[in-house]
Symmetry: C2
Subunit: 331 residues, 2 copies
DNA sequence: GGCCTGATTGTAAGCGTTTCCATTGGGAGT
DNA sequence: ACTCCCAATGGAAACGCTTACAATCAGGCC
């Protein structure tokens, strides 16, 4: 089942078979037919590795996400992929579970695969990796982490703004005791969120508590975090979650413990994943334009001759979306 | 950045470099160090394609799913992947959006990638593909579709049983008018589910209505389907959904239209995805052991010398899980 | 001192494609 | 009838790596 066998069967050279299969170069119609026929009969499937090894250019993009279970990442993937498909690229995903060691492994695998570009939509980071990627000269996009460089574009969301708007909104409604639920608090960007929350609250001189689920970005993690939160003697009137995915679990735990959301306790998320609308109550959250992020990421990776110097950094200002999970604190 | 350059820099042959990098064969400690050093300095990243082209055996498994947004598929992927990782395999995913044309493309891509095994967890199918895969001699696992063959293992869930149990349960509670919400009704397995529902209901001589969302397996699709359902003059007291993911949307629409679940209308899902527990009300559903399915799939794909003849078919009998979204019909 | 042995390392033949060049027939132009 | 040119094909060199197999070298033994 190699090119050569097909060639032999069709009575032509491998060069011709290759031309037929790649629709490149001219081939007489009759020979084309013969080759195609032979290929079909032999159940020939071109070896992708040989192909990319021989031809130089790769049209695969790589994408690495922290948590493939969180719809937030999938949404970005889908958006990036759909843009890529339209331009003849394909994209392969890998996920890290927020482990920076896996990030490094994945990134190396991508480089080994000779991807034409790499999107790292992750929260964890390994400083040496930045250097490694810069040297590699492969176009890279980071979301949330990393620094712009020769071949590195950054997309970042003004998380502080979203957080600030949320706190502001809750505060203006009368909330004074708020808690924050996150995960993997030790990771840079995630830690920054916690810090932002604390600083913002400090400005409002409200009481604050921080709780992080034990390394699980999931509804289950949110539920557990909420459980721990309620086990302490701090009684927040509002719980801000690092993302929607966890907020789903927080709401569940509150309900399980007999609290009504938002009557007794308000809950907010972050990301505005589709599910946030389908939650009951629908989640008040901060919108992060995942579709746009996916497109931006693609733009940054795709050669796109026309535009010479691509922007090296995109900044997104997220907006608060008030829905049903928040309201005034109980009197 | 090729093996040869590293070799030159380290003053050895490519064979030696290869040996060092693959930890295979013996190499004097001092040369090993020298090679590693050279590789690091040159920021050498082995070309994966060249590597798999040269060495024959592949340790990549391929997995194709219908809808990468539906947690059901992700769960199976994670389970399969974790089993694979433990045994030194890696697995790449692709998704089809329930399009059989994409299924074919993806499968061919996998074959081109020379995967060591392929898991097709999909609802769509292309008859010719079965033949193509059988000929290819690559170990294949199908879930829900396909027929056992020389190199093809099947995993199938007795969907009828789950459905029957659900109907039975609802009927015994007093429900007489039930509706079914699905998607992509034209696809084989999905159509079978609809049929199963109708047949089961026929046995109970209840009134029945079938509604399918327009090609969208998602909460949004479920919401839309529920909307259409309610627009008709059929008033079910229970809505059975083809899966949990859609049920989430159905519940939402019912609530939006002022119905209380389960007081006014009961809703059931299928799959028992994690989210079903976090729904409000928590979803009554039928458990499909995704973890186990992932493991089974891996077992079927991995060579595992010891066991000569692997079973060619796994059958799973799903169980009903009663939670909060169902109850007696309104009086 | 010659020879055998085992540890290291080098040589070179693939692996399956693509692609640059060269080659081969005709048919058109004169 | 004789160039010229173009369309259609074949030849063969990469692509970067793995892996027999060969070669080298330093001891150790007789």
């Amino acid at each position: 089942m190699t090119l050569e066998e097909v060639a032999r069967r069709a009575g032509v050279s491998t060069a011709t078979v290759s031309r037929v299969l790649n629709k490149a170069g001219v081939v007489r119609e009759t020979t084309r037919k013969r080759v195609l026929q032979a290929a079909r009969e032999l159940r020939y499937h071109p070896n992708l590795h040989a192909r990319t090894l021989a031809g130089a250019k790769s049209n695969t993009l790589g994408m690495i996400v922290s948590n493939i279970e969180n719809p937030f990442f999938i949404d970005i993937f889908r958006s990036l992929e759909s843009a890529a498909l339209q331009r003849g690229y394909e994209v392969v995903v890998e996920h890290t579970d927020y482990k920076s060691s896996r990030l490094v492994t994945c990134a190396r695998a991508m480089l080994g695969r000779r991807v034409a570009g790499l999107a790292a939509i992750v929260s964890e980071m390994e400083p040496s990796l930045i250097e490694e990627l810069t040297e590699s000269d492969v176009p890279v996009v980071f979301y949330d982490v990393g620094l712009p460089a020769r071949n590195i574009t950054n997309i970042r969301v003004r998380y502080e703004r979203g957080m600030q708007r949320t706190v502001e909104y809750l505060y203006s409604m009368g909330h004074r005791r708020m808690a924050f639920v996150g995960h993997h608090a030790s990771l840079g960007p995630l830690q920054a969120r916690k810090k932002t929350f604390i600083e913002t609250m400090a400005r409002y001189s409200g009481q604050v508590q921080f709780t992080a689920a034990l390394n699980t970005d999931s509804p289950a993690g949110g539920k557990q975090a909420a459980h721990e939160l309620l086990a302490s003697d701090f009684r927040p009137t509002a719980v801000l979650c690092v993302n929607d995915f966890m907020a789903l679990g927080v709401i569940r735990e509150l309900r399980d413990q007999g609290f009504s959301v938002p009557r007794d306790i308000s809950v907010t998320g972050f990301d505005n994943i589709q599910l946030s609308e389908f939650s009951n109550p629908a989640l008040t959250t901060v919108n992060i334009p995942r579709r746009k992020i996916g497109q931006m990421a693609f733009e940054a990776l795709a050669p796109k001759e026309s535009s010479g110097d691509r922007p090296r950094e995109f900044v997104i200002d997220p907006e608060l979306l008030v829905r049903e999970s928040t309201g005034p604190p109980p009197v």
